[in-house]
Symmetry: C2
Subunit: 72 residues, 2 copies
Amino acid sequence: MKNTSSIQAQFGAHLKKLRLQSGLSQEAFADKCGLDRTYVSGIERGVRNPTLEVISVLGKGLDVDIKELFNF
Amino acid sequence: MKNTSSIQAQFGAHLKKLRLQSGLSQEAFADKCGLDRTYVSGIERGVRNPTLEVISVLGKGLDVDIKELFNF
């Protein structure tokens, strides 16, 4: 598999930006998604590798289309 | 976690469409990605839940930006 180590960092940074724009705290956002706050924190820091299902949940939690999460 | 069962099916169908447009067989595409053909088949059929890293590899294999994979 090709090296794509930066995709997690890019995705996480963009997710954090969108979350902050939405005015949600990390905890409020995690609760809305039904995910653990530490897991959301790890995604935002680019150290977790979320699945498609989780990515979909993150989009719903921000009330944005999933493709917006990749608009970076 | 909210129910998002259809996201895998939507993603897989769109991926297959893009692959066919690119003229790649499933096997040639899988080889290009460094993934097993049966795994790519499962993604296309919506029965696998690829991670962000794998999604990034799929985009590179099709020479498209990752956001194109969510343009459905």
